[in-house]
């Protein structure tokens, strides 16, 4: 047994090292620029989409990408960044604003550009020093920079149904600040007679001065499950749940496992099951970030910065140090795709998560909005390109 264990240990260690060597040899292309991407994982839709568009960019630009999955704790994030810098990356895209000041400081000392792929500066706690660093690329505002638009769309969906009793569930407000804006806009847009099942156990009949609170939980499926139990204990007759905190991954399974499968849902989040649930009416609407647009927005800035050694700057982009720059002007924007019927899902599959050469933003379109390829490119053009809606994209690609 001891011999077997010792052999297994040596086998695992040597195997791991060989796989590592293999990975290094496999990635041994000689692209001019190398970009690292930090995400919790690359196995969900989000990670797959980001990786897929990165591969498309590799085919069309002189860049290579390296993917580092990081843990959720601060030190693990820093280790991921150190790994990217050690691997010789010229720029790093981080999915999150974890330890942002420290990350920018590290990148600055290593001469590496750093940007937020799935977060923005307006809702992050970031120092002015980091924000004004030459090596900080900015972030990407989700919901095209205005979450209230998605809230209004959800209100419209709800107003078109006969359901009146509505509850919301999300991550804590501090963790998903856009969720607050979305929720408030949605409640504002509801017709008279709709009722918000407020988390403070007081029903709010619309119109009502106070908007009502949504329930929230701390990031785990167990916590979500407990919150769903609490929610239905407070209001056994809820008809629609607006699942803003990972609706498809956490909220829907929690509803089903607690015997509330007949309750309708609006979900922030996308999985392969969305089409079926929209078809059978379980879902009234679902949504997801357009990750291609997030990537395109940050990639354009990173590539221009790397190619010009930080000097390229769109003539119409707010200057570093300007008040507007400090309050979100450093961020690009990307659209949030809202799916309300099966046809939307089909279009989404065909033109957003499908083949990137026929996707939301082709390489040629992106080059037109990059200073490295078009000296007349503007920030407004780039923002318009990266906030195309599903209907815009479908209209462009379907023909």
């Amino acid at each position: 047994m001891k011999k077997f264990l010792s052999k297994l240990c040596v086998f695992v260690l040597v195997g791991a090292m060989l796989v590592g060597v293999g990975a290094m040899v496999g990635c041994g292309n000689s692209a001019q620029y190398k970009i690292g991407i930090l995400l919790y994982n690359f196995t969900d839709v989000q990670g797959q989409q980001i990786q897929s568009y990165a591969e498309y960019l590799e085919e069309n630009f002189d860049v290579s990408f390296t993917y580092v999955s990081v843990g959720q704790d601060d030190d693990s994030h820093i280790q991921g960044l150190e790994s990217c810098i050690n691997q010789g990356c010229n720029a790093v895209f981080s999915g999150y604003n974890t330890a942002i000041d420290k990350c920018v400081e590290m990148c600055e000392s290593a001469g590496v550009y750093y940007g937020l792929l799935l977060a923005d500066t307006a809702t992050s706690s970031i120092s002015e020093t980091a924000l004004e660093s030459k090596y900080f690329l900015g972030g990407v505002k989700q919901f095209s920079g205005d979450p209230s638009i998605a809230g209004e769309q959800f209100a419209e969906v709800l107003n078109n149904t006969e359901y009146t009793k509505i509850a919301g569930i999300s991550f804590p407000p501090f963790a998903f600040i856009d969720g607050n804006t979305l929720w408030n806009a949605m409640v504002d847009g509801l017709d008279e007679g709709k009722v918000i099942c407020d988390a403070n156990q007081e029903e709010m009949l619309i119109p009502f001065g106070y908007k009502g609170d949504y329930y929230y939980f701390m990031f785990t499926s167990d916590a979500c499950n407990a919150t769903v139990v609490q929610m239905f204990s407070d209001y056994p007759d809820i008809e629609v749940v607006v699942g803003m905190g990972s609706g498809m991954d956490y909220v829907l399974p929690a509803l089903r496992s607690n015997g509330h499968g007949n309750v309708k849902m609006i979900s922030l989040g996308y999985t392969e099951d969305v089409e079926g649930y929209l078809a059978d009416g379980t879902l009234l609407a679902a949504g997801n970030n357009n990750h291609v647009e997030c990537m395109a927005s940050l990639f354009a800035r990173a590539y221009d910065a790397m190619a010009s050694e930080g000097s390229a700057w769109y003539s119409d982009r707010v200057a570093i140090g300007d008040e507007n720059y400090l309050y979100g002007g450093s961020d690009g924007a990307a659209d949030y795709v809202i799916l309300t019927d099966v046809q939307d899902v089909k279009d989404y599959k065909a033109y957003v998560i499908g083949d990137k050469a026929n996707g939301p933003i082709t390489a040629d379109e992106l080059k037109q909005c990059m200073l490295s390829f078009n000296e007349n490119a503007t920030w407004a053009d780039l923002t318009e390109l990266t906030t195309r809606s599903l209907s815009d994209i479908t209209a462009l690609r379907a023909n």
């Binding site: 047994m1 001891k2 264990l5 010792s6 297994l8 240990c9 695992v12 260690l13 040597v14 791991a16 090292m17 796989v19 590592g20 060597v21 990975a23 290094m24 990635c27 994982n41 690359f42 390296t66 993917y67 580092v68 999955s69 990081v70 843990g71 959720q72 704790d73 601060d74 030190d75 693990s76 994030h77 820093i78 280790q79 991921g80 150190e82 790994s83 810098i85 050690n86 691997q87 010789g88 604003n97 974890t98 330890a99 942002i100 000041d101 420290k102 400081e105 290593a110 992050s124 706690s125 120092s127 020093t129 804590p172 501090f174 963790a175 600040i177 701390m218």
Partner: protein, 335 residues
């Protein structure tokens, strides 16, 4: 001719016996040499570039300090799982104190003293609870872990998502390579001396083998446990400052997973989880170096984090298997 053959055979037998009796040492240093050699070649020397060495030192310093402290606890056969959460609560307090005192040296000293106080209360408290109420020390440490993590989550949820140092240069000293090396070496040497040459270390190893025999040999088992947990608490308090200097902020997941890093490091250093007479301080020192080189080497080669975790998990499992099998090889103490 026959004599020469006989001499050779005797030599081989002696060498075999030497290897067998020093198996732990061979595992400890062999693994380190293997990791250094393979990753030096595979990364084309990048693992030892200036930037990489700096980042290795900044990862190694808090880990080695914790391993040195935790070795005292593990030598009894006890396991602590609260390090990560305790680090988080201490880091959070440190930020509050340092910010409140304007990022001055005085603020940092107060933060360190407060960290030491809190860590001592939590660690000594947990072992007192374990001894007085006769519960497993791991259960007491789980209670500490959940309480501390809950507090961190609560406080972080009251902010915009993270606590951060207002003056990011406040802890610059703790990011200086010379200072990290100095503290790491001082604590490692002090730990080695106490564990190898004082009664605390000698009796701790004896307790790991057989607490009753140790007691009958004159060891005050409970008092020794308190002392060892106090040493571990001190190590956690010191390492907190280095972790905080690395990140400059605290979110609700700060420090999570550090307890596993410590356990795997000690195991890679050839330590038996059951503790006992074969425990050596070199397990903490060499193990933490091996662990940091292994994780950095794998990630520099582009291996996805999930595979790195898988490798860590399998190595952990296999080495625990070794530990269990080796119980029979531990000689009983003379009665």
């Amino acid at each position: 001719m026959e004599n020469i053959k006989k001499d050779n055979k005797t030599g081989l037998l002696k060498a075999g016996a030497f290897v067998k009796s020093n198996k732990n040492m061979f595992i400890r240093y062999g693994l380190l040499v293997l990791v250094v050699l393979v990753f030096s070649i595979a990364t084309g020397g990048r693992l030892f570039s200036k930037y990489s060495i700096n980042s290795i030192i900044s990862q190694l310093t808090p880990l080695m300090i914790m391993c040195v402290g935790m070795l005292f606890v593990f030598s009894h056969g006890n396991i602590d799982v609260a390090e990560g959460a305790v680090i988080a609560i201490c880091a959070l307090m440190s930020i509050e104190v340092i910010n409140a005192m304007g990022g001055t040296a005085g603020g940092i000293i107060v933060a360190i003293l407060l960290n030491i106080l809190v860590c001592e209360v939590l660690y000594v408290g947990s072992i007192v609870m374990s001894v007085k109420f006769r519960i497993l020390s791991t259960i007491a440490s789980l209670a500490i872990m959940f309480t501390a993590r809950g507090l961190v989550t609560y406080f972080v949820s009251q902010t915009l998502g993270s606590y951060k140092l207002e003056n990011s240069a406040a802890l610059k000293l703790f990011s200086q390579t010379w200072f990290m090396l100095l503290v790491m070496i001082v604590i490692a040497v002090a730990g080695w001396f106490v564990f190898t040459y004082t009664r605390v270390g000698k009796y701790s190893r004896a307790i790991g083998d057989n607490p009753l025999s140790a007691q009958q040999s004159g060891a005050n088992v409970n008092a020794l446990k308190y002392i060892c947990y106090a040493i571990a608490g001190f190590a956690v308090a010191v390492s907190t400052m280095f972790y905080l200097a690395r990140t400059g902020s605290v979110t609700q997941n700060f420090g999570s997973g550090r307890e596993m890093d410590v356990m795997i490091s000690l195991i890679l250093g050839g330590m038996l989880l059951s503790g006992g007479s074969k425990t050596r301080m070199s397990a903490a020192i060499v193990g933490s170096v091996t662990y940091v080189l292994l994780t950095n080497g794998l990630s520099q080669l582009g291996m996805p984090d999930m595979y790195v975790s898988l490798v860590k998990g399998v190595v952990f499992l296999v080495m625990v298997g070794f530990t269990l099998r080796r119980q029979s090889t531990v000689k009983a103490l003379p009665r």
